[in-house]
Amino acid sequence: MDKRISPLSRIFLIVMFALLYLPIFYLIFYSFNSGGNMYDFENFTFDWYKELFQDTRLLIIVLNTIVIALLSALISTVIGVLGAMMIYKIRSSRTKNALLSLNNILIVSPDVIIGASFLILFTIAGIQLGFYSVLLSHIAFSIPIVVLMVLPKLSEMSPSLLDAARDLGASRWEVITKVVIPYITPGIFAGFFMALTYSLDDFAVTFFVTGNGFTTLSVEIYSLARQGISLSINALSAIIFIVTMLIVVIYYFLTRRGKKSPDLEVLK
Protein backbone atom coordinates (compact mmCIF):
# COMPACT_ATOMS: atom_id res chain seq x y z
CA MET A 1 0.00 0.00 0.00
CA ASP A 2 0.96 3.57 -0.49
CA LYS A 3 2.23 6.09 1.99
CA ARG A 4 -0.19 8.75 0.85
CA ILE A 5 -2.97 7.58 3.14
CA SER A 6 -3.01 7.80 6.91
CA PRO A 7 -2.57 4.70 9.11
CA LEU A 8 -6.17 4.98 10.25
CA SER A 9 -7.41 4.91 6.66
CA ARG A 10 -5.16 1.98 6.00
CA ILE A 11 -6.67 0.03 8.88
CA PHE A 12 -10.14 0.91 7.60
CA LEU A 13 -9.27 -0.42 4.14
CA ILE A 14 -7.73 -3.60 5.52
CA VAL A 15 -10.81 -4.27 7.67
CA MET A 16 -13.07 -3.67 4.68
CA PHE A 17 -11.10 -6.01 2.45
CA ALA A 18 -11.08 -8.63 5.21
CA LEU A 19 -14.86 -8.32 5.63
CA LEU A 20 -15.34 -8.57 1.88
CA TYR A 21 -13.48 -11.86 1.65
CA LEU A 22 -14.44 -13.28 5.02
CA PRO A 23 -17.69 -15.00 3.98
CA ILE A 24 -16.00 -16.65 1.00
CA PHE A 25 -13.08 -18.00 2.99
CA TYR A 26 -15.42 -18.91 5.83
CA LEU A 27 -17.30 -21.17 3.42
CA ILE A 28 -14.14 -22.71 2.03
CA PHE A 29 -12.62 -23.23 5.49
CA TYR A 30 -15.61 -25.20 6.79
CA SER A 31 -15.77 -27.28 3.63
CA PHE A 32 -12.89 -29.23 5.22
CA ASN A 33 -14.72 -29.70 8.53
CA SER A 34 -15.48 -33.29 9.46
CA GLY A 35 -17.97 -32.03 12.06
CA GLY A 36 -20.65 -31.37 9.47
CA ASN A 37 -21.51 -27.85 10.60
CA MET A 38 -20.28 -24.30 10.04
CA TYR A 39 -19.26 -23.43 13.61
CA ASP A 40 -17.30 -26.23 15.20
CA PHE A 41 -14.20 -27.26 13.30
CA GLU A 42 -13.36 -30.82 14.30
CA ASN A 43 -10.97 -32.43 11.88
CA PHE A 44 -9.65 -31.82 8.44
CA THR A 45 -11.42 -33.94 5.85
CA PHE A 46 -12.05 -34.23 2.13
CA ASP A 47 -15.28 -36.13 2.72
CA TRP A 48 -17.53 -33.36 1.50
CA TYR A 49 -15.62 -33.14 -1.76
CA LYS A 50 -15.88 -36.91 -2.15
CA GLU A 51 -19.59 -36.72 -1.46
CA LEU A 52 -19.89 -33.93 -3.97
CA PHE A 53 -18.22 -35.92 -6.74
CA GLN A 54 -20.34 -38.96 -6.00
CA ASP A 55 -23.56 -36.99 -6.20
CA THR A 56 -24.50 -37.63 -9.83
CA ARG A 57 -27.63 -35.52 -9.58
CA LEU A 58 -25.60 -32.50 -8.57
CA LEU A 59 -23.00 -33.17 -11.26
CA ILE A 60 -25.76 -33.27 -13.88
CA ILE A 61 -27.01 -29.93 -12.56
CA VAL A 62 -23.48 -28.49 -12.87
CA LEU A 63 -23.36 -29.81 -16.42
CA ASN A 64 -26.78 -28.29 -17.19
CA THR A 65 -25.59 -24.94 -15.88
CA ILE A 66 -22.47 -25.00 -18.03
CA VAL A 67 -24.36 -26.11 -21.14
CA ILE A 68 -26.95 -23.37 -20.66
CA ALA A 69 -24.23 -20.77 -20.06
CA LEU A 70 -22.16 -21.71 -23.11
CA LEU A 71 -25.12 -22.09 -25.46
CA SER A 72 -26.84 -18.92 -24.33
CA ALA A 73 -23.60 -16.93 -24.47
CA LEU A 74 -22.86 -18.20 -27.97
CA ILE A 75 -26.33 -17.56 -29.39
CA SER A 76 -26.75 -14.20 -27.66
CA THR A 77 -23.34 -13.11 -28.93
CA VAL A 78 -24.36 -13.85 -32.52
CA ILE A 79 -27.72 -12.09 -32.20
CA GLY A 80 -26.16 -9.24 -30.21
CA VAL A 81 -23.49 -8.60 -32.83
CA LEU A 82 -26.14 -8.53 -35.56
CA GLY A 83 -28.21 -6.18 -33.44
CA ALA A 84 -25.26 -3.88 -32.82
CA MET A 85 -24.58 -3.75 -36.57
CA MET A 86 -28.20 -2.88 -37.19
CA ILE A 87 -28.20 -0.09 -34.59
CA TYR A 88 -24.87 1.17 -35.92
CA LYS A 89 -26.29 1.53 -39.42
CA ILE A 90 -29.31 3.58 -38.36
CA ARG A 91 -28.74 7.18 -39.37
CA SER A 92 -31.53 8.97 -37.55
CA SER A 93 -30.35 9.59 -34.02
CA ARG A 94 -33.90 9.51 -32.71
CA THR A 95 -34.58 5.98 -33.96
CA LYS A 96 -31.17 4.99 -32.71
CA ASN A 97 -31.84 6.26 -29.21
CA ALA A 98 -35.29 4.70 -29.15
CA LEU A 99 -33.85 1.35 -30.12
CA LEU A 100 -31.05 1.71 -27.56
CA SER A 101 -33.61 2.44 -24.85
CA LEU A 102 -35.52 -0.69 -25.83
CA ASN A 103 -32.25 -2.59 -25.80
CA ASN A 104 -31.45 -1.41 -22.28
CA ILE A 105 -34.81 -2.24 -20.73
CA LEU A 106 -33.77 -5.78 -19.85
CA ILE A 107 -30.48 -4.52 -18.43
CA VAL A 108 -32.08 -2.21 -15.91
CA SER A 109 -35.13 -4.31 -15.12
CA PRO A 110 -35.07 -6.14 -11.82
CA ASP A 111 -34.65 -9.88 -12.26
CA VAL A 112 -37.98 -10.61 -10.59
CA ILE A 113 -39.80 -8.69 -13.29
CA ILE A 114 -37.86 -10.36 -16.10
CA GLY A 115 -38.59 -13.73 -14.53
CA ALA A 116 -42.27 -13.08 -13.92
CA SER A 117 -42.91 -11.61 -17.37
CA PHE A 118 -41.06 -14.43 -19.12
CA LEU A 119 -43.07 -16.93 -17.12
CA ILE A 120 -46.26 -15.36 -18.49
CA LEU A 121 -44.76 -15.27 -21.98
CA PHE A 122 -43.73 -18.94 -22.03
CA THR A 123 -47.03 -20.06 -20.56
CA ILE A 124 -49.00 -18.16 -23.19
CA ALA A 125 -46.72 -19.28 -26.02
CA GLY A 126 -47.14 -22.88 -24.84
CA ILE A 127 -43.44 -23.45 -24.30
CA GLN A 128 -42.94 -26.10 -21.67
CA LEU A 129 -40.96 -24.91 -18.67
CA GLY A 130 -37.59 -26.61 -18.57
CA PHE A 131 -34.39 -26.60 -20.56
CA TYR A 132 -35.68 -24.56 -23.49
CA SER A 133 -37.46 -21.92 -21.44
CA VAL A 134 -34.33 -21.41 -19.33
CA LEU A 135 -32.11 -21.30 -22.41
CA LEU A 136 -34.39 -18.81 -24.16
CA SER A 137 -34.51 -16.54 -21.10
CA HIS A 138 -30.75 -16.60 -20.70
CA ILE A 139 -30.29 -15.74 -24.37
CA ALA A 140 -32.85 -12.96 -24.01
CA PHE A 141 -31.26 -11.22 -21.05
CA SER A 142 -27.72 -11.58 -22.43
CA ILE A 143 -28.38 -10.04 -25.86
CA PRO A 144 -28.55 -6.38 -24.70
CA ILE A 145 -25.24 -6.60 -22.85
CA VAL A 146 -23.52 -8.01 -25.96
CA VAL A 147 -24.96 -5.11 -27.97
CA LEU A 148 -23.59 -2.64 -25.44
CA MET A 149 -20.14 -4.22 -25.58
CA VAL A 150 -19.97 -4.35 -29.37
CA LEU A 151 -21.56 -1.03 -30.29
CA PRO A 152 -18.75 1.22 -28.96
CA LYS A 153 -16.23 -0.82 -30.96
CA LEU A 154 -18.30 -0.30 -34.12
CA SER A 155 -18.64 3.42 -33.45
CA GLU A 156 -14.94 3.93 -32.92
CA MET A 157 -14.15 2.18 -36.19
CA SER A 158 -13.09 4.75 -38.76
CA PRO A 159 -15.50 4.90 -41.73
CA SER A 160 -12.56 5.42 -44.06
CA LEU A 161 -11.53 1.85 -43.22
CA LEU A 162 -14.74 0.63 -44.82
CA ASP A 163 -14.39 3.02 -47.75
CA ALA A 164 -10.87 1.79 -48.38
CA ALA A 165 -12.01 -1.83 -48.35
CA ARG A 166 -14.81 -1.06 -50.80
CA ASP A 167 -12.50 0.94 -53.06
CA LEU A 168 -10.18 -2.00 -53.19
CA GLY A 169 -13.05 -4.09 -54.51
CA ALA A 170 -14.22 -5.94 -51.42
CA SER A 171 -17.77 -7.23 -51.52
CA ARG A 172 -20.21 -6.48 -48.71
CA TRP A 173 -19.59 -9.91 -47.25
CA GLU A 174 -15.82 -9.44 -47.43
CA VAL A 175 -16.04 -6.02 -45.79
CA ILE A 176 -17.91 -7.57 -42.88
CA THR A 177 -15.82 -10.72 -42.44
CA LYS A 178 -12.40 -9.29 -43.28
CA VAL A 179 -12.63 -5.77 -41.85
CA VAL A 180 -15.54 -5.25 -39.46
CA ILE A 181 -15.49 -8.53 -37.52
CA PRO A 182 -11.71 -8.52 -36.89
CA TYR A 183 -11.94 -4.92 -35.74
CA ILE A 184 -14.74 -5.54 -33.23
CA THR A 185 -13.41 -8.88 -31.97
CA PRO A 186 -12.40 -7.53 -28.53
CA GLY A 187 -15.95 -6.27 -28.06
CA ILE A 188 -17.35 -9.61 -29.18
CA PHE A 189 -15.16 -11.46 -26.67
CA ALA A 190 -16.10 -9.07 -23.89
CA GLY A 191 -19.77 -9.55 -24.75
CA PHE A 192 -19.41 -13.32 -24.80
CA PHE A 193 -17.71 -13.33 -21.40
CA MET A 194 -20.31 -11.02 -19.91
CA ALA A 195 -23.10 -13.20 -21.27
CA LEU A 196 -21.38 -16.22 -19.79
CA THR A 197 -21.10 -14.69 -16.33
CA TYR A 198 -24.65 -13.34 -16.42
CA SER A 199 -25.91 -16.78 -17.24
CA LEU A 200 -23.81 -18.53 -14.59
CA ASP A 201 -24.78 -15.92 -12.02
CA ASP A 202 -28.46 -15.83 -12.69
CA PHE A 203 -30.82 -17.10 -10.07
CA ALA A 204 -34.06 -15.13 -10.10
CA VAL A 205 -34.98 -15.46 -13.77
CA THR A 206 -34.18 -19.18 -13.85
CA PHE A 207 -36.11 -19.69 -10.64
CA PHE A 208 -39.25 -18.36 -12.33
CA VAL A 209 -39.00 -20.09 -15.70
CA THR A 210 -37.67 -23.49 -14.74
CA GLY A 211 -39.99 -26.45 -14.46
CA ASN A 212 -39.88 -29.46 -12.21
CA GLY A 213 -37.40 -31.54 -14.13
CA PHE A 214 -34.69 -28.97 -14.75
CA THR A 215 -32.54 -26.91 -12.39
CA THR A 216 -29.38 -24.90 -12.58
CA LEU A 217 -26.79 -24.58 -9.88
CA SER A 218 -28.09 -21.31 -8.41
CA VAL A 219 -31.60 -22.68 -8.04
CA GLU A 220 -30.25 -25.88 -6.52
CA ILE A 221 -28.11 -23.97 -4.02
CA TYR A 222 -31.15 -21.93 -3.07
CA SER A 223 -33.30 -24.95 -2.37
CA LEU A 224 -30.47 -26.67 -0.49
CA ALA A 225 -29.75 -23.53 1.54
CA ARG A 226 -33.41 -23.19 2.48
CA GLN A 227 -33.21 -26.60 4.07
CA GLY A 228 -30.24 -25.54 6.19
CA ILE A 229 -26.54 -26.10 6.15
CA SER A 230 -24.93 -28.90 4.17
CA LEU A 231 -21.18 -28.87 3.80
CA SER A 232 -21.37 -30.20 0.25
CA ILE A 233 -22.47 -26.70 -0.68
CA ASN A 234 -19.31 -25.42 0.97
CA ALA A 235 -17.20 -27.82 -1.04
CA LEU A 236 -19.05 -26.79 -4.16
CA SER A 237 -18.51 -23.11 -3.41
CA ALA A 238 -14.79 -23.67 -2.93
CA ILE A 239 -14.62 -25.19 -6.40
CA ILE A 240 -16.77 -22.42 -7.86
CA PHE A 241 -14.52 -19.83 -6.22
CA ILE A 242 -11.41 -21.30 -7.83
CA VAL A 243 -13.08 -21.55 -11.24
CA THR A 244 -14.35 -17.98 -10.94
CA MET A 245 -10.89 -16.76 -10.03
CA LEU A 246 -9.50 -18.51 -13.11
CA ILE A 247 -12.12 -16.90 -15.34
CA VAL A 248 -11.41 -13.48 -13.79
CA VAL A 249 -7.69 -13.87 -14.38
CA ILE A 250 -8.24 -14.98 -17.99
CA TYR A 251 -10.66 -12.12 -18.58
CA TYR A 252 -8.29 -9.65 -16.95
CA PHE A 253 -5.43 -10.60 -19.22
CA LEU A 254 -7.61 -10.80 -22.30
CA THR A 255 -8.89 -7.25 -21.82
CA ARG A 256 -5.49 -6.05 -20.69
CA ARG A 257 -3.92 -7.06 -23.95
CA GLY A 258 -6.15 -4.64 -25.83
CA LYS A 259 -5.56 -1.53 -23.78
CA LYS A 260 -3.46 -0.24 -20.96
CA SER A 261 -5.97 -0.40 -18.13
CA PRO A 262 -8.95 -2.72 -18.16
CA ASP A 263 -12.23 -0.94 -18.48
CA LEU A 264 -13.59 -2.22 -15.22
CA GLU A 265 -16.69 -0.13 -15.46
CA VAL A 266 -18.18 -2.60 -17.86
CA LEU A 267 -17.38 -5.69 -15.84
CA LYS A 268 -20.63 -5.58 -13.96
Binding site: M1, L27, L121
Partner: protein, 269 residues
Protein backbone atom coordinates in the same frame (compact mmCIF):
# COMPACT_ATOMS: atom_id res chain seq x y z
CA UNK B 1 -26.73 -3.43 -55.69
CA UNK B 2 -28.25 -6.39 -53.94
CA UNK B 3 -31.88 -6.67 -53.14
CA UNK B 4 -32.80 -4.50 -50.18
CA UNK B 5 -34.82 -7.18 -48.37
CA UNK B 6 -32.07 -9.79 -48.49
CA UNK B 7 -29.64 -7.12 -47.34
CA UNK B 8 -31.62 -6.57 -44.21
CA UNK B 9 -32.18 -10.24 -43.41
CA UNK B 10 -29.51 -10.08 -40.74
CA UNK B 11 -31.64 -7.76 -38.62
CA UNK B 12 -34.39 -10.39 -38.21
CA UNK B 13 -33.09 -12.18 -35.06
CA UNK B 14 -32.52 -8.95 -33.18
CA UNK B 15 -35.89 -7.49 -34.20
CA UNK B 16 -37.61 -10.70 -33.13
CA UNK B 17 -35.82 -10.46 -29.80
CA UNK B 18 -36.98 -6.86 -29.26
CA UNK B 19 -40.56 -7.76 -30.16
CA UNK B 20 -40.88 -11.00 -28.19
CA UNK B 21 -38.58 -10.54 -25.22
CA UNK B 22 -38.70 -6.80 -24.60
CA UNK B 23 -42.03 -5.41 -25.75
CA UNK B 24 -44.27 -8.46 -25.40
CA UNK B 25 -43.35 -9.25 -21.75
CA UNK B 26 -44.08 -5.68 -20.65
CA UNK B 27 -47.43 -5.68 -22.42
CA UNK B 28 -48.26 -9.09 -20.95
CA UNK B 29 -47.51 -7.92 -17.42
CA UNK B 30 -49.67 -4.86 -18.02
CA UNK B 31 -52.47 -7.04 -19.45
CA UNK B 32 -52.37 -9.48 -16.53
CA UNK B 33 -52.42 -6.68 -13.99
CA UNK B 34 -55.99 -5.94 -15.13
CA UNK B 35 -57.16 -9.51 -14.65
CA UNK B 36 -58.78 -10.91 -11.55
CA UNK B 37 -58.44 -14.50 -10.40
CA UNK B 38 -61.21 -15.69 -12.76
CA UNK B 39 -59.52 -14.08 -15.75
CA UNK B 40 -61.99 -11.22 -16.17
CA UNK B 41 -61.01 -7.66 -16.81
CA UNK B 42 -61.12 -5.75 -13.56
CA UNK B 43 -59.40 -3.14 -11.46
CA UNK B 44 -59.51 -5.32 -8.34
CA UNK B 45 -55.75 -5.74 -8.21
CA UNK B 46 -55.17 -2.02 -8.33
CA UNK B 47 -57.82 -1.50 -5.66
CA UNK B 48 -56.07 -4.14 -3.56
CA UNK B 49 -52.72 -2.48 -4.03
CA UNK B 50 -54.03 0.68 -2.40
CA UNK B 51 -55.17 -1.13 0.72
CA UNK B 52 -53.08 -0.63 3.88
CA UNK B 53 -51.46 -4.09 3.65
CA UNK B 54 -49.83 -3.46 0.30
CA UNK B 55 -49.11 0.19 0.93
CA UNK B 56 -47.39 -0.67 4.18
CA UNK B 57 -45.36 -3.35 2.45
CA UNK B 58 -44.35 -0.91 -0.31
CA UNK B 59 -43.38 1.67 2.26
CA UNK B 60 -41.30 -0.77 4.30
CA UNK B 61 -39.70 -2.07 1.12
CA UNK B 62 -38.71 1.49 0.25
CA UNK B 63 -37.47 2.12 3.77
CA UNK B 64 -35.19 -0.91 3.67
CA UNK B 65 -33.95 -0.08 0.19
CA UNK B 66 -33.22 3.46 1.35
CA UNK B 67 -31.40 2.23 4.44
CA UNK B 68 -29.35 -0.27 2.45
CA UNK B 69 -28.44 2.33 -0.17
CA UNK B 70 -27.46 4.90 2.46
CA UNK B 71 -25.27 2.54 4.47
CA UNK B 72 -23.69 1.15 1.32
CA UNK B 73 -22.89 4.69 0.20
CA UNK B 74 -21.44 5.65 3.60
CA UNK B 75 -18.97 2.77 3.36
CA UNK B 76 -18.41 2.76 -0.39
CA UNK B 77 -17.43 6.40 -0.75
CA UNK B 78 -14.47 6.36 1.68
CA UNK B 79 -13.33 3.01 0.29
CA UNK B 80 -13.44 4.29 -3.28
CA UNK B 81 -11.69 7.48 -2.20
CA UNK B 82 -8.88 5.63 -0.46
CA UNK B 83 -8.53 3.19 -3.34
CA UNK B 84 -7.80 6.01 -5.77
CA UNK B 85 -4.88 6.99 -3.53
CA UNK B 86 -3.25 3.57 -3.70
CA UNK B 87 -0.37 2.72 -5.95
CA UNK B 88 -1.81 -0.25 -7.83
CA UNK B 89 -5.35 1.07 -7.72
CA UNK B 90 -6.67 -0.92 -10.69
CA UNK B 91 -5.52 -4.13 -9.09
CA UNK B 92 -7.10 -3.24 -5.74
CA UNK B 93 -10.28 -2.34 -7.56
CA UNK B 94 -10.25 -5.73 -9.22
CA UNK B 95 -9.93 -7.30 -5.77
CA UNK B 96 -13.04 -5.39 -4.72
CA UNK B 97 -14.91 -6.67 -7.75
CA UNK B 98 -13.90 -10.33 -7.49
CA UNK B 99 -16.35 -11.14 -4.65
CA UNK B 100 -19.16 -9.81 -6.79
CA UNK B 101 -18.39 -12.55 -9.30
CA UNK B 102 -19.11 -15.23 -6.73
CA UNK B 103 -22.64 -16.45 -6.93
CA UNK B 104 -24.95 -14.36 -4.78
CA UNK B 105 -26.61 -17.43 -3.33
CA UNK B 106 -23.30 -18.76 -2.06
CA UNK B 107 -22.58 -15.50 -0.29
CA UNK B 108 -26.02 -15.50 1.28
CA UNK B 109 -25.45 -19.10 2.29
CA UNK B 110 -22.14 -18.17 3.94
CA UNK B 111 -24.01 -15.72 6.14
CA UNK B 112 -26.35 -18.50 7.22
CA UNK B 113 -23.26 -19.98 8.87
CA UNK B 114 -21.72 -16.75 10.11
CA UNK B 115 -24.93 -15.38 11.65
CA UNK B 116 -26.14 -18.75 12.91
CA UNK B 117 -26.75 -19.38 16.60
CA UNK B 118 -23.24 -20.77 17.11
CA UNK B 119 -21.72 -18.92 14.19
CA UNK B 120 -18.71 -16.66 14.06
CA UNK B 121 -20.64 -13.43 14.66
CA UNK B 122 -22.10 -14.74 17.90
CA UNK B 123 -18.74 -16.06 19.06
CA UNK B 124 -17.35 -12.60 18.44
CA UNK B 125 -20.20 -10.99 20.37
CA UNK B 126 -19.55 -13.35 23.28
CA UNK B 127 -15.84 -12.58 23.33
CA UNK B 128 -16.40 -8.86 23.53
CA UNK B 129 -18.93 -9.44 26.29
CA UNK B 130 -22.22 -8.66 24.62
CA UNK B 131 -23.36 -12.24 24.57
CA UNK B 132 -24.95 -14.20 21.79
CA UNK B 133 -28.03 -12.88 20.06
CA UNK B 134 -30.53 -14.03 17.50
CA UNK B 135 -28.98 -12.59 14.35
CA UNK B 136 -30.35 -14.70 11.55
CA UNK B 137 -33.90 -13.90 10.41
CA UNK B 138 -33.76 -10.34 11.69
CA UNK B 139 -33.89 -7.12 9.72
CA UNK B 140 -30.36 -6.33 10.91
CA UNK B 141 -28.90 -9.36 9.13
CA UNK B 142 -30.94 -8.55 6.03
CA UNK B 143 -29.52 -5.02 5.85
CA UNK B 144 -26.00 -6.22 6.65
CA UNK B 145 -25.94 -8.91 3.97
CA UNK B 146 -27.51 -6.59 1.40
CA UNK B 147 -24.87 -3.94 2.07
CA UNK B 148 -22.23 -6.63 1.74
CA UNK B 149 -23.64 -7.74 -1.61
CA UNK B 150 -24.09 -4.27 -3.09
CA UNK B 151 -20.94 -2.55 -1.92
CA UNK B 152 -18.75 -3.52 -4.93
CA UNK B 153 -21.40 -2.15 -7.31
CA UNK B 154 -21.46 1.12 -5.38
CA UNK B 155 -17.66 1.42 -5.15
CA UNK B 156 -17.15 0.89 -8.88
CA UNK B 157 -18.90 4.00 -10.30
CA UNK B 158 -17.70 6.20 -7.44
CA UNK B 159 -14.14 5.01 -7.98
CA UNK B 160 -14.41 5.80 -11.68
CA UNK B 161 -15.77 9.27 -10.96
CA UNK B 162 -13.06 10.00 -8.38
CA UNK B 163 -10.39 8.65 -10.67
CA UNK B 164 -11.40 11.07 -13.42
CA UNK B 165 -11.30 14.01 -11.02
CA UNK B 166 -8.67 16.54 -12.04
CA UNK B 167 -6.22 16.85 -9.09
CA UNK B 168 -5.46 20.49 -9.94
CA UNK B 169 -8.96 21.38 -8.64
CA UNK B 170 -7.93 20.10 -5.23
CA UNK B 171 -4.73 22.11 -5.36
CA UNK B 172 -6.70 25.19 -6.37
CA UNK B 173 -9.15 24.73 -3.51
CA UNK B 174 -6.25 24.22 -1.16
CA UNK B 175 -4.44 27.33 -2.42
CA UNK B 176 -7.57 29.40 -2.00
CA UNK B 177 -7.67 28.43 1.65
CA UNK B 178 -10.45 25.85 1.70
CA UNK B 179 -10.31 23.37 4.54
CA UNK B 180 -10.28 19.68 3.69
CA UNK B 181 -13.94 19.33 4.60
CA UNK B 182 -14.91 22.36 2.51
CA UNK B 183 -12.89 21.00 -0.41
CA UNK B 184 -14.74 17.72 -0.13
CA UNK B 185 -18.15 19.31 0.26
CA UNK B 186 -17.79 22.00 -2.40
CA UNK B 187 -15.41 20.42 -4.92
CA UNK B 188 -14.94 16.66 -4.70
CA UNK B 189 -18.46 15.55 -3.89
CA UNK B 190 -20.25 17.72 -6.51
CA UNK B 191 -17.81 16.56 -9.18
CA UNK B 192 -18.36 12.90 -8.37
CA UNK B 193 -22.13 13.13 -7.89
CA UNK B 194 -22.73 11.21 -11.14
CA UNK B 195 -20.84 8.23 -9.79
CA UNK B 196 -22.81 8.42 -6.55
CA UNK B 197 -26.08 8.57 -8.48
CA UNK B 198 -25.13 5.61 -10.62
CA UNK B 199 -24.13 3.63 -7.55
CA UNK B 200 -27.37 4.46 -5.76
CA UNK B 201 -29.35 3.39 -8.78
CA UNK B 202 -27.49 0.10 -8.99
CA UNK B 203 -28.18 -0.53 -5.32
CA UNK B 204 -31.67 0.84 -4.80
CA UNK B 205 -33.55 -1.01 -7.55
CA UNK B 206 -32.29 -4.50 -6.66
CA UNK B 207 -32.74 -3.70 -2.96
CA UNK B 208 -36.43 -3.20 -3.72
CA UNK B 209 -36.71 -6.38 -5.68
CA UNK B 210 -34.35 -9.04 -4.34
CA UNK B 211 -36.38 -11.89 -2.99
CA UNK B 212 -33.91 -14.69 -2.33
CA UNK B 213 -31.97 -12.65 0.23
CA UNK B 214 -35.11 -11.82 2.11
CA UNK B 215 -36.20 -15.44 2.09
CA UNK B 216 -32.85 -16.87 3.13
CA UNK B 217 -31.59 -14.25 5.55
CA UNK B 218 -34.59 -12.37 6.86
CA UNK B 219 -37.07 -15.23 7.01
CA UNK B 220 -40.48 -13.61 7.20
CA UNK B 221 -39.22 -10.48 8.95
CA UNK B 222 -38.84 -8.41 5.81
CA UNK B 223 -41.14 -8.41 2.80
CA UNK B 224 -39.96 -6.44 -0.19
CA UNK B 225 -41.75 -5.78 -3.45
CA UNK B 226 -39.67 -8.56 -5.00
CA UNK B 227 -40.71 -11.05 -2.33
CA UNK B 228 -44.33 -10.08 -2.85
CA UNK B 229 -44.10 -10.62 -6.61
CA UNK B 230 -42.45 -14.00 -6.15
CA UNK B 231 -45.07 -14.95 -3.58
CA UNK B 232 -47.95 -14.01 -5.88
CA UNK B 233 -46.53 -15.72 -8.94
CA UNK B 234 -45.08 -18.91 -7.54
CA UNK B 235 -46.88 -19.56 -4.25
CA UNK B 236 -50.35 -18.05 -4.39
CA UNK B 237 -50.50 -18.36 -8.19
CA UNK B 238 -52.26 -15.02 -8.37
CA UNK B 239 -50.56 -13.70 -11.50
CA UNK B 240 -52.88 -10.72 -11.69
CA UNK B 241 -51.87 -9.33 -8.32
CA UNK B 242 -48.23 -10.23 -8.97
CA UNK B 243 -48.35 -8.33 -12.26
CA UNK B 244 -49.90 -5.32 -10.57
CA UNK B 245 -47.06 -5.16 -8.04
CA UNK B 246 -44.65 -5.64 -10.96
CA UNK B 247 -46.25 -2.70 -12.79
CA UNK B 248 -45.70 -0.51 -9.74
CA UNK B 249 -42.14 -1.75 -9.39
CA UNK B 250 -41.51 -0.84 -13.05
CA UNK B 251 -43.01 2.62 -12.44
CA UNK B 252 -40.81 3.11 -9.35
CA UNK B 253 -37.83 1.93 -11.37
CA UNK B 254 -38.43 4.56 -14.04
CA UNK B 255 -38.87 7.26 -11.39
CA UNK B 256 -35.59 6.25 -9.73
CA UNK B 257 -33.79 6.12 -13.06
CA UNK B 258 -35.17 9.50 -13.97
CA UNK B 259 -34.15 10.94 -10.59
CA UNK B 260 -30.65 9.52 -10.73
CA UNK B 261 -30.42 10.46 -14.36
CA UNK B 262 -27.93 7.92 -15.64
CA UNK B 263 -28.80 5.16 -18.04
CA UNK B 264 -27.06 2.00 -19.13
CA UNK B 265 -26.58 0.50 -15.74
CA UNK B 266 -27.27 -3.04 -14.85
CA UNK B 267 -29.41 -3.44 -11.80
CA UNK B 268 -29.19 -7.01 -10.91
CA UNK B 269 -28.81 -9.26 -8.01
Amino acid sequence: MENKTTRNLYTIPYVIWVAFFVIAPILLVLYYSFQDLEGNFSLTNYRNFFTPIYLEMTLSSFWYAFLITLITLLFAYPIAYLLTKLKHKQLWLLLIIVPSWINLLLKAYAFLGIFGTYGMANKFLETIGIGSKQLLFTDFSFVFVSVYIFIPFMILPIFNALDKLNPTYLDAANDLGASRWTTFRRVVFPLTIDGVKAGCQITFIPALSLFMLTRLIAGSQVITLGTAIEQQFLVTQNWGMGSTIAVFLIIFMFIIMFATGTKRRRARG
